[in-house]
C-alpha cells in the first residue's frame, strides 16, 4: 500500500472521528450545562430564595409555569397588595412557626462620596428576615429587633456593594446614602456568587420600620410574608391555616378564588422542571441530528473502505474467514472509530462546558449518566452505521473479491 493510501485512510478515519466527536461534544456540553443548572436550581437557587420548610404569601404568583391562562393572570394582577394588617392575620394563623418575617423592597442608587452603585435592591426586612433566608454576615453584625423597633438608620450590605463603595476601606461604621437618606453600615454579607448571587450580593438590607420611614414609596405595604416551619410535615397544615385566615379576613365567598398567592420553593422547582424538560428533550434532539449525520459519514467511509479493501476481504475469505468474521471485523472498526470519536467528544464537551462556565454565570456539572449516554451513543452509531457496509463485505464472493482491481 502506498503512503498516499495510508494518508487517505487516515484522513477518512479522521473525518468519521470528527463527525461523531462534534455530535458528542455538543451532547456532553449541553447535558453538562443543563445538569449544572439543575443541580444549581435544586441545591442553591430554591434554597437561597427560600430555604427548606419555608413558604411565603405574595400578592400574585411570580413564576409562570405556562399553565396559567391570560385571563387568570389578569385577574391575579388585580389582587389587593399585601399590607401590615395581612401580616398580623398571617402571624396569628401560624403561632408555631419557627421564623416569621416580611419584607418590602425598592431599588435605587446607593452612594458614598464619589463612589456609587445603581440598581441596588434596597430591602426592608423584619428582624427574622436574614434567618429565614440563611443570610450570614461576614463582617460586623446582622439586623436586630432593636434596630427595627427603633427604626435605626442602619444597613447590612451585600459583598458587591461593599467592594464597589469601599474599595480600600472597611465599610463598617461608615455611612452610605440612598434616596436622600443616610444609613450606617453595620455589616457585610458573605459573598454568595453564582447565577443568583446578585440577589444577595447586590442587595442592601435595612430594618423594615426604617424602610417604612425612609425609602418606602407605599407606606404600610409589604411585598412578601415569609413563614418557616419546624418540619416538612408542618408545611401543608400551616399553608392551609394561612390561606384560611386570609380568606376569612378578606371575606371571600367559597366560590371566589384566593386573591393572594401562597408560594413554596416547589413552585420554583416546577417552573424549572418545565424549562428543564424542554432543554433535555430539545437540545439532545438537535444533537441527535448531528449524530445521525456523523453516522452517515461513518457509513460512507466504511463503504469506501469495503471497496478499497475488497481484495483483502477476498483473501481473508480464501483463508477461511466466515461471514460473521468479516462482519465482526468491520463492525469492530466502525465502533472503534465512533467510540474513539465519542471519547474525544466527551473531553471536548467537558472543555466546552468549562469554558461556558468560566465565561458566563451558568454552572456546569459532569454527570456520569451523560458520559455513559455518550459512549453508548457512539457505540450505537458505530454499529448502526457499520452494519450495512459490514454486511456487504461479509457477502462478497471470495474469488470475485480476490480478482477485484
Amino acid at each position: 500500500m502506498s503512503l498516499r493510501q495510508v494518508r487517505a485512510q487516515k484522513l477518512k478515519s479522521f473525518f468519521s472521528l470528527l463527525g461523531i466527536a462534534i455530535g458528542i461534544t455538543f451532547l456532553i456540553a449541553v447535558i453538562t450545562l443543563v445538569e449544572g443548572m439543575n443541580r444549581y436550581v435544586r441545591e442553591d437557587f430554591a434554597g437561597s430564595f427560600f430555604g427548606v420548610n419555608t413558604f411565603s404569601v405574595i400578592q400574585r404568583r411570580q413564576v409562570n409555569t405556562g399553565e396559567v391562562d391570560r385571563e387568570q393572570r389578569a385577574r391575579e394582577r388585580r389582587n389587593p397588595r399585601l399590607r401590615m394588617d395581612d401580616v398580623e392575620v398571617v402571624r396569628a394563623a401560624v403561632p408555631n412557626a419557627l421564623y416569621f418575617g416580611y419584607s418590602a423592597a425598592t431599588s435605587g442608587e446607593v452612594r458614598r462620596d464619589q463612589y456609587s452603585r445603581r440598581g441596588v435592591r434596597i430591602l426592608g426586612g423584619s428582624p427574622q428576615y436574614e434567618a429565614i433566608h440563611g443570610w450570614d454576615v461576614e463582617f460586623g453584625r446582622g439586623l436586630t429587633s432593636v434596630d427595627d423597633r427603633q427604626a435605626l438608620p442602619v444597613a447590612v450590605i451585600g459583598s458587591q456593594i461593599a467592594e464597589r463603595l469601599f474599595p480600600s476601606t472597611s465599610p463598617l461604621g461608615r455611612q452610605v446614602r440612598a434616596a436622600g437618606h443616610r444609613f450606617t453600615v453595620v455589616g457585610v454579607y458573605e459573598a454568595q456568587g453564582g447565577l443568583t448571587g446578585s440577589l444577595r450580593d447586590a442587595a442592601m438590607l435595612i430594618p423594615f420600620e426604617t424602610f417604612q420611614r425612609t425609602v418606602a414609596t407605599r407606606r404600610q405595604e409589604v411585598d412578601e410574608i415569609l413563614i418557616k416551619v419546624n418540619r416538612v410535615d408542618e408545611m401543608a397544615p400551616s399553608m392551609a391555616a394561612v390561606e384560611q385566615a386570609l380568606r376569612v379576613d378578606r371575606r371571600l365567598r367559597p366560590s371566589e378564588p384566593n386573591d393572594f398567592w401562597v408560594q413554596t420553593s416547589s413552585d420554583l422547582l416546577d417552573a424549572w422542571e418545565t424549562i428543564n424538560n424542554v432543554l433535555l428533550v430539545a437540545l439532545p434532539g438537535l444533537v441527535g441530528i448531528s449524530l445521525v449525520v456523523g453516522g452517515i459519514v461513518i457509513m460512507n467511509i466504511m463503504l469506501l473502505s469495503v471497496t478499497d479493501r475488497t481484495r483483502e476481504i477476498g483473501l481473508r475469505k480464501a483463508l477461511g474467514a466466515k461471514r460473521k468474521d468479516i462482519m465482526f471485523q468491520f463492525l469492530t472498526e466502525a465502533s472503534t472509530l465512533s467510540v474513539l470519536g465519542a471519547v474525544f467528544g466527551i473531553f471536548a464537551g467537558i472543555g466546552m462546558a468549562a469554558i461556558v462556565e468560566s465565561a458566563t454565570p451558568l454552572p456546569a456539572a459532569v454527570s456520569p449518566v451523560a458520559l455513559a449516554v455518550a459512549i453508548c451513543l457512539g457505540l450505537g452509531v458505530g454499529i448502526a452505521s457499520g452494519i450495512y457496509p459490514a454486511g456487504r463485505a461479509a457477502r462478497l464472493d471470495p474469488i470475485e473479491a480476490l480478482r477485484f482491481e
Binding site: 483483502e312 480464501a318 466466515k322
Partner: protein, 262 residues
C-alpha cells in the same frame, strides 16, 4: 499412472464451469475428471485461458462449479454452504497465489497467523505454529518484517508458510513463481520439493517445463478439457513433443516488481 490404494484426496467428475458473457457462453471447464492421491505432486500446464486457474479455484473451494462432482477427502463439496466452504478452505486447503496476497500492514508473523485466527486457535499456540511454519520456509529471521520490507521470493515464502500453517490436506499453488525471477523461482521450487518430501500433497500451475518436470505428474488442460496426463519421468522425455503438440512455451503474464500485497 501408478495405481494408488484407497480414496483419492481429490476426485472430480465431469466438472464444469460456464461463464455467460452476454450472448456467449465461455466453457472455462468443460468436463474435467481428475484424481489426486495423497502425497501426489501434480503440475498443471496448458495455454493461457485453458482453465487452469478456474480448476484451481474449484479445487480450492474458492469458486463453485456450474455442474459436476467434486469430492475432497470423500466430502461432496458442491453440496456445501458458504460457511462450510469457509471451514474447508481454512482446514483443508493451503493456497499460494501468483501475487502473494499478503496483508501490507501486517508483519510476516501476523500474516502467517491469519488462517489460525479463523480456526479459533488461542494466541499462544497460533504464534508458536506460525513461527514453526516460518522456520520451515527459512524466514524465522524475518518474522517482524512487513511485506514491503521483503524481497519477492521472501514474500512468496511467507505466503507458503501461511498456506502450510494449518497443516492442510492439499497445497494449491497457481503460478507461484510467475512474479519471480529465475533464481528466486528455483529457491521457491526447492521449498515445494522439500514439502513434498515431507509428505505434502501439492498441485501447482506452471508455464515452465523445468518446473513441471519436478512434479510427479503433469496434467495439461486445453480449452477446459484434460488433454494429457503423464507421469513425470515420461514427461521429461516427452516435454519437447508436448510443447510441439500444445504449442505453448514460456510464462506469460510475468509482472516483476509487483508487490503482491493487499
Amino acid at each position: 499412472m501408478t495405481a494408488q490404494p484407497g480414496e483419492p484426496i481429490i476426485r472430480t467428475r465431469e466438472l464444469r464451469k460456464e461463464y455467460v458473457m452476454g450472448a456467449e457462453v465461455v466453457y472455462a471447464l468443460n468436463g474435467v475428471d481428475v484424481d489426486i492421491w495423497r502425497n501426489d505432486y501434480v503440475a498443471i500446464m496448458g495455454p493461457s485461458g485453458s482453465g487452469k486457474s478456474t480448476f484451481m479455484n474449484m479445487v480450492g473451494c474458492l469458486d463453485t462449479p456450474t455442474a459436476g462432482e467434486y469430492a475432497l477427502n470423500g466430502q461432496e463439496v458442491q453440496l456445501m454452504n458458504d460457511d462450510e466452504l469457509a471451514k474447508i478452505r481454512n482446514r483443508e486447503i493451503g493456497f499460494v497465489f501468483q501475487t502473494f496476497n499478503l496483508l501490507a500492514r501486517a508483519t510476516s508473523l501476523h500474516n502467517v497467523e491469519l488462517p489460525l485466527v479463523y480456526s479459533g486457535i488461542p494466541a499462544r499456540e497460533r504464534r508458536q505454529r506460525a513461527v514453526e511454519a516460518l522456520e520451515t520456509v527459512q524466514l524465522a529471521d524475518r518474522m517482524m518484517h512487513k511485506p514491503s520490507e521483503l524481497s519477492g521470493g521472501q514474500r512468496q515464502r511467507v505466503a507458503i508458510a501461511r498456506a502450510l500453517v494449518n497443516d492442510p490436506s492439499i497445497l494449491l499453488a497457481d503460478e507461484p513463481t510467475g512474479n519471480l525471477d529465475s533464481t528466486t523461482s528455483l529457491e521457491i521450487m526447492d521449498v515445494f520439493d522439500k514439502l513434498h518430501d515431507r509428505g505434502q500433497t501439492i498441485i501447482m500451475v506452471t508455464h515452465e517445463y523445468d518446473i513441471a518436470a519436478r512434479a510427479g505428474r503433469v496434467i495439461t488442460l486445453v480449452d477446459g478439457k484434460v488433454e494429457l496426463k503423464v507421469d513425470s519421468p515420461a514427461f521429461q522425455a516427452q516435454a519437447g513433443v508436448a510443447a510441439a503438440g500444445v504449442g505453448v512455451l514460456g510464462s506469460p503474464g510475468n509482472v516483476l516488481g509487483q508487490t503482491g500485497a493487499l
